[in-house]
Symmetry: none
Subunit: 247 residues, 2 copies
């Protein structure tokens, strides 16, 4: 990464700081709204804020690790000899990605039995997906990387199937006013989550190594903000609609 | 920036610390008042505090970046070789400036449909304005800088038009007691926001480079405090008047 320019280094640092600000602001927004919800939706909103809170913590770690990986001397950039630890993203996802599907299930307010069953099923699949992706990302060999990508896609496809086929019956039991929002929320999961397996392969585009690093980090951060803060805002809107309170 | 005196360095540092204190205090004031408001105005007050909270975070970043950009040895100031990252301001504005117009719309308590429509329209224009300004500010060439200034002025003028023409009908539906406050709030937006495009051109006044740096940072900080904390206080007063509670 030593061909990175000072400007590229700063842009990525700005983006990570933007991640901290977005995730932190989203958390405060969700939790300060908690008191307005009846007990039926409190847990959903609480978990929504929990996801962005965990992400805020990890964006601090990512920001600091990026800062430590470089030294600036006389307005020139040098690598410091300490590696940038991308694994914080995976540590974040192992916790937050299963919680994201739980958010959606909680706000749908299914029967206690269905809530538990679907939460365990979808959260386990989500955790598996991240673990497989991590194994692939950690490997140095292109063949192993590709192999784990395919293995990680399996739980992802089951999740997509479950979100559309498995939740359809439950969706029909939702109040009419909330249905389009829930539908948008599940599409938001599919579209934003699809971004990660694409970004995993960004090196195939054969752009120069330093632009690759910048593009990768911008891409991940934007996908994270959409998948957690913006998705969380949809969960909030669904809870508002179903509770009949003002946004 | 190496002609900056130690005193000038300290003045700017003081100003940034003043920014942290003002924004932090404003946030605490707004959020500690939250429980006094009925559900109709809670989100408006919450977002008002969110804007100053995001600004508090960024003033910490700006303060630390300024401090890192210089080294003090034997009571003399030297540049450290690490650039001062002005981009934190833009990262802040991309989030806070759209939220500022949302605050005003929320406290007016329009119909849910109008709230959504006007919020999306004005917030998008505000975000565009900041992005155009950032592109101009990042460019080194005077012609490009000027060009993006003109492009950035277009969404700004549309926002001003919308605030005065577009909100006039809604203003007439507001309680009589709240109207002068709402009118002042929108004027506060126009006046404080006008400061930024002027400051963008402060170098045209051909003052010495180090005084320019000091003037620029004082100007930005004061404009930020007026546009966020003082403007937020007006939003609070409007909510107080409309709720019929004591300030």
């Amino acid at each position: 990464m030593n061909e990175l320019t000072l400007n590229q280094f700063l842009i990525v640092k700005d983006i990570f700081s933007f991640g901290i600000a977005c995730m932190g602001a989203a958390t405060l927004f969700f939790w300060l709204q908690l008191s307005r919800f009846s007990k039926s939706y409190k847990t959903a909103i609480l978990v929504t804020g929990l996801v962005t809170a965990i992400a805020t913590y990890h964006y601090f770690r990512i920001f600091n690790s990026w800062d430590e990986a470089f030294t600036v001397k006389n307005f020139k950039l040098y690598t410091s000899g300490i590696p940038f630890d991308f694994a914080y993203r995976y540590i974040d996802w192992i916790l937050t990605v299963p919680l994201l599907v739980v958010e959606l299930i909680l706000v749908m307010k299914l029967s206690p039995k269905d809530t538990l069953k679907k939460s365990i099923k979808l959260a386990s699949l989500a955790a598996l997906m991240i673990i497989f992706g991590y194994i692939g990302e950690r490997s140095e060999d292109q063949y192993t990387r590709d192999l784990w990508w395919y293995i990680g896609m399996l739980p992802f496809l089951v999740i997509v199937y479950e979100l559309f086929k498995g939740l359809n019956k439950s969706l029909k039991l939702q109040p009419l006013a909330a249905r389009p929002l829930i539908n948008t929320a599940r599409w938001l999961i599919v579209i934003t989550w699809s971004f990660y397996p694409i970004v995993y392969h960004i090196d195939l585009l054969q752009i120069s190594r330093s632009s690759f690093v910048v593009a990768l980090q911008i891409g991940y951060t934007m996908a994270d903000i959409l998948a957690k803060a913006v998705f969380g805002f949809f969960i909030y809107l669904i809870a508002v609609k179903k509770s009949g309170i003002d946004a």
